[in-house]
C-alpha cells in the first residue's frame, strides 16, 4: 500500500464519503429534532396568548431594565400601571389621586405628610403592600451606590431636588449616614410618614415619579439579579409582567391581587419593544393592525394629518418637551460675552422654526407655558435689530471676526438643528453649521473645553413635570447653571475633583461647592439663592414670585437658549377606549384602558 504524503492541508476524515454523509444526516436530524422540541422556545411563550380575552397591543421603546430606580426607558413603562405608588396623577396630570395610599394628612407647617395605606393593597404574589415596603424602597433609592446596596441610584444628581425629603440628598451624597435622620418612616403596616426639608406644594406630584414606586424588597434582596425576570417578577399595580423577551416584547396581564381589580379591563397587553425609527416602514405595523397605539415622528404626522381616516386617529400632547441649546466651553472667548449669546437667542426666528415640523410652538423660555402661573414676562422677546446691535457692540459687526457657530448634535435627526443654523445665517448673516456626531462622541465633546476657535452650543431636549420646582430647581438647575458659567480653567479643575476617586463623598461635595462659590458667575449664584429661598417660602404667591425671578434671571444669562416647545403625537386605533394622554414622560396610565369593537 503506498504511503500517503500529507501536506499541511487536510487529513482524511471518516472512512468514506458515504460515512460522512451518514454522519451529517444524523447531525441534521439531531438538529431538527432539537429544534422541533424547542420550536416554541425560539419565539418565547407568545403562542399561549389568552384566548378570547381583550388584548391591547402598544408600541414602546426597548426596555433593558425593569428597575424603576435605574434611569432607563424601563422606568416609564413601570409607572404606567405595572407598579403603583402612594398616589397617581389625575387625568390632566396637574394633581394627584389616591393609589396605594387611600388618604393623607399634611401638617400645618406643610412639612409632614402622613399617608394611610389601603389594607387591601397587595403584591401580585399575594403579600400585602405595607409601609415598610416603601421605607425600604426609598432607603435603596437614597443609598449611595455600592455593589452591596444594589448600587442603582443616580448619585448626587438624583430627583431629590424635586422631592425635597429631609436628609435625602445628604444621605445620597454620603454626607449623612444615619438613616433615622432621613424623613422617611413607616409606623406599623399602614402608615408612612414623609418629612420635607422645606414646604413643597408639588411634593405629591413629585411622588408620581417612577423612582418613588415601591419594590418587593424581600425579592430584590434575595434575587438581586433575577427579580426582574419573569416568572420571578412581582408588582403591585393593575398589571404585572408575565413575559419579557428583550428587544421584542413585554407581555402584561392583570394583577389578580390588585386592590381595584374590578376596574382593570384588559385581559392582556402586548408591549412591542420597538426602536423609534424614521424609516419609511415605521408606521406599517400600525397600519397593518399589528399595534393599536404608537408614537409618530414628524413626516408620518404630516401624512396622517392629510389622510381623512388616519387624521381621526391622531392624538397630540402639547408642550411635552423643550428643545434647547446649551453653551459649549471654548478656548475662544467670543461666547463668554453675554451680548453674543443674547444676540444669537434674539435672532432665532422661532415662529418659522416651529413650522418645520407639526405641532411645535416657539419656545420663548425654558419654563413651558403649561407651568401654572407662567406668563410672557419671563420669556425672550425676539428682536433682530437689537441682536445685530449687540453683535456690533461685542466687536463683531455683521458677524465679522466671529468664528462659525456650531451646534453639536448627537441624535440621528438633525432637521431642527439645520433649521436653527439656517435662521442664524439668514437673520444675522453669520456663519454657522451643524456638527453631527455619534452619541458617544457627543457625550464626551459637550463637556470638553473646545479647542481653537470652535464655539457654539450643544443640542438637547428635556421633559419633566410642569411645576416650578422641576422647571427651575431640577431641569437646568442652579447647579447646572453655575457649572456652565465657570471659566474654562475652573471647569477643568471642577471636573478633576468630580473624577477624583480618592475623595470621600462629603469632601468631594464640599470642594465642588467651593469652586462654584468662588468662580461661578454672580447671577448664576444668585439664581441658586433665589431657588433656595423659594423652596423655603411657605406663602404660595411669594414662592412663585421667587421662582419666576430665578427663571427670568436664568433666561437672561443666555447660557441655555430655549428654542421650541415640542408636541408628541400618538396614533390610536378607534377601538381603544379610556386613553388619557398627559404631557409627562409616561404619557398615559394603563388602568383606564379598554378595547371596544
Amino acid at each position: 500500500m503506498p504511503k500517503r504524503v500529507w501536506t499541511s492541508s487536510v487529513p482524511p476524515v471518516g472512512q468514506t464519503r458515504r460515512d460522512f454523509l451518514r454522519l451529517s444526516g444524523l447531525t441534521l436530524a439531531a438538529l431538527g429534532g432539537s429544534w422541533s422540541l424547542t420550536g416554541c422556545g425560539l419565539f418565547g411563550d407568545n403562542e399561549k396568548a389568552s384566548g378570547g380575552q381583550s388584548t391591547l397591543k402598544i408600541d414602546y421603546v426597548p426596555v433593558e431594565v425593569l428597575d424603576p430606580q435605574v434611569i432607563t426607558n424601563g422606568m416609564w413603562i413601570l409607572s404606567r400601571g405595572i407598579s403603583e405608588g402612594l398616589v397617581t396623577q389625575n387625568e390632566k396630570g396637574d394633581g394627584v389621586q389616591p393609589a396605594v395610599a387611600s388618604e393623607w394628612k399634611v401638617s400645618d407647617d406643610h412639612l409632614t405628610y402622613t399617608f394611610t395605606l389601603r389594607d387591601n393593597a397587595q403584591w401580585s404574589d399575594g403579600k400585602p403592600v405595607v409601609a415598610q415596603d416603601f421605607e425600604r424602597t426609598y432607603k435603596r433609592l437614597f443609598t449611595p451606590a455600592a455593589a452591596s446596596a444594589g448600587g442603582t441610584t443616580l448619585g448626587a444628581n438624583s430627583y431629590q431636588t424635586a422631592t425635597g425629603i429631609k436628609g435625602a440628598q445628604d444621605f445620597l451624597a454620603g454626607v449623612l449616614t444615619d438613616w433615622t435622620k432621613v424623613g422617611v418612616k413607616a409606623n406599623g403596616d399602614h402608615e408612612l410618614v414623609l418629612t420635607l426639608a422645606n414646604p413643597n406644594p408639588d411634593f405629591l406630584l413629585a411622588l408620581t415619579h417612577p423612582a418613588l414606586l415601591p419594590l418587593p424588597m424581600d425579592l430584590v434582596e434575595s434575587k438581586p439579579k433575577d427579580w426582574q425576570n419573569p416568572p420571578n417578577y412581582v408588582s403591585n399595580g393593575p398589571y404585572t409582567v408575565t413575559e419579557w423577551v428583550q428587544n421584542s416584547r413585554l407581555i402584561l396581564t392583570p394583577n389578580e391581587k390588585y386592590w381595584d381589580r374590578d376596574n382593570v379591563k384588559l385581559g392582556r397587553i402586548q408591549v412591542n419593544l420597538v426602536e423609534p425609527s424614521a424609516a419609511a416602514t415605521a408606521t406599517v405595523p400600525y397600519e397593518n393592525g399589528e399595534t393599536d397605539l404608537t408614537q409618530l415622528a414628524g413626516p408620518d404626522v404630516l401624512r396622517f394629518q392629510k389622510d381623512a381616516n388616519l387624521s381621526k386617529q391622531l392624538q397630540q400632547t402639547e408642550n411635552y418637551s423643550i428643545l434647547y441649546l446649551a453653551k459649549l466651553r471654548s478656548q475662544h472667548k467670543a461666547m463668554e460675552d453675554v451680548r453674543v449669546r443674547k444676540a444669537l437667542s434674539l435672532a432665532l426666528d422661532r415662529k418659522t422654526l416651529a413650522g418645520v415640523q407639526p405641532g411645535q410652538e416657539p419656545g420663548v423660555s425654558l419654563v413651558t407655558s403649561r407651568t401654572g402661573g407662567w406668563d410672557a414676562s419671563i420669556g425672550i422677546k425676539e428682536d433682530v435689530a437689537e441682536a445685530k446691535k449687540l453683535l456690533a457692540e461685542a466687536g463683531y459687526p455683521n458677524g465679522q471676526g466671529l468664528p462659525p457657530i456650531r451646534i453639536l448634535v448627537g441624535v440621528p435627526d438633525t432637521t431642527l438643528a439645520d433649521a436653527i443654523v439656517d435662521s442664524w445665517t439668514k437673520q444675522l448673516g453669520i456663519k454657522a453649521s451643524v456638527d453631527h456626531v455619534e452619541a458617544g462622541v457627543y457625550t464626551e465633546r459637550r463637556w470638553e473645553v473646545q479647542k481653537g476657535n470652535y464655539i457654539g452650543f450643544y443640542y438637547g431636549t428635556f421633559a419633566g413635570l410642569p411645576t416650578w420646582p422641576t422647571m427651575v430647581g431640577s431641569l437646568w438647575s442652579p447647579q447646572n447653571v453655575q457649572e456652565i458659567s465657570l471659566p474654562s480653567d475652573q471647569w477643568q479643575a471642577y471636573q478633576g475633583v468630580q473624577q477624583d476617586k480618592n475623595l470621600k463623598p462629603a469632601a468631594k461635595t464640599a470642594q465642588l461647592k467651593a469652586i462654584l462659590t468662588a468662580h461661578a458667575s454672580k447671577p448664576a449664584l444668585e439664581i441658586g439663592a433665589l431657588v433656595d429661598q423659594a423652596a423655603a417660602e411657605p406663602d404660595d404667591a411669594k414662592r412663585m414670585g421667587l421662582y419666576k425671578q430665578a427663571a427670568k434671571q436664568r433666561e437672561e444669562q443666555y447660557l441655555y437658549l430655549p428654542v421650541l416647545w415640542l408636541s408628541l403625537f400618538h396614533a390610536v386605533k378607534p377601538k381603544v377606549h379610556g386613553l388619557q394622554l398627559r404631557a409627562y414622560p409616561d404619557y398615559f396610565y394603563l388602568k383606564p384602558l379598554s378595547v371596544g369593537s
Binding site: N46, D67, N157, N247, T281, V284, E287, E290, G440
Partner: protein
Amino acid sequence: MGLAGYIGKRIVRLALSLIAVSILTFTLLQLAPGNFADLQRVNSGATNFGGVGTESMVGELETRYGADVPVWKQYLIFMKGAAHWDFGPSYKYASRNVQDIIAEAFPISATLALLAVLLALLIAVPVGVFAALRQNSKSDHGTMFVVTLGHALPSYLSAAFMILLFSATLKLLPSGGWNGPKDLILPVLALSLGPAAVLARYVRSSMLETLREEYVTAAIAKGGPRRTVIVRHALRNSLIPLVTVAGPLLAALMTGTVFVEALLRIPGLGLYFANAAASRDMPLLMGTALFFALILMVTNLVVDLIYGLLDPRIRTVGGGSHDGN
C-alpha cells in the same frame, strides 16, 4: 501529521486569534469616545445631566472588578471569566449575564442564517445550472444580470422593500416582531437574496468548468442521456466548491444580520452586538465579539475538514485550506 495533530494545531491557532480579537476589541472600546454611563444618561430619558457616570454602572464595575481597578486588570479579569464561559452581567441589560443573552439570542440569528442559506441554495443551484447550460445566450446574460442585481442590493433594503410589499400593500405578512413561525418568512427571504446571487455565480462557473472535463465529454460520448450526465456527473462534482462558499456565508449571516434584525424587530444576537457597541457596554461587546470570532473560525475549520473529505485531490495536493482567521 494525523488528523488529531492537524486539529490540535488549528485549535491553538484559533485560541491565539481569539486573544488577538479580544485585545483589539477591548483597546478600541477604551479608545472610543464616551462611556456607558454618560450615554445611558443621554439616551434614556434621564432628566438631569451631571457629568458623572450612572452609579448603577459604577456598582456593576465594583461587583465585578473591585473598586478602581486599572484598565489592563479589568481586561484580565474579564478574560479569566471568559475562559470559563462567564462574561459577567451586561451593563445595559443589567439583570442578565452576557452568556445568557448569547444563549437566548444566538439560536434566533442562527436559525435565520441557516434557513436563509438553505433557501439560497435552493434558488442558486437551478439558476446557476440553467445559466451554465445556456452559456453566452440571452437567457444566460439576463439571469446573470438579475443575479448581479440581487448581489448588489443590501439585505436591509430588500427587507424594507418586502415590508412595503407583503405587509403594507398586500397585508399578507406581519411587518416584523418575533411572535411565531410566520415571522420567519420576511427575514429569511431578505437574507437569502444576496447569498443566492453569490452562490448562483459559483454554481455557474463551477458547472462550466466541470462540463469541460474529459470524463463528462466521455460520458456524453458513450451516449448516456444528457440529463443523467449533467445531474449524476457534472452537477455533483461542481457542487463541491460550494462548501467553501456556503460555510463562510452561513457564518457571516449568523453574525451579520444586524440590520435586518433591527428593521424587522427580531431579538437576535446581531441586534445586541450593535447595541453593545453603540452603548459602550464592555462585557456585552467583548462577549459577542469573541463569540462571533469563535463561530467564524470554527465554521472555517469545519469547512476545511469537509472540503478535504469531499475532494480527495486537495488532500494530496494541499490546496484549499482556509486559515480560519
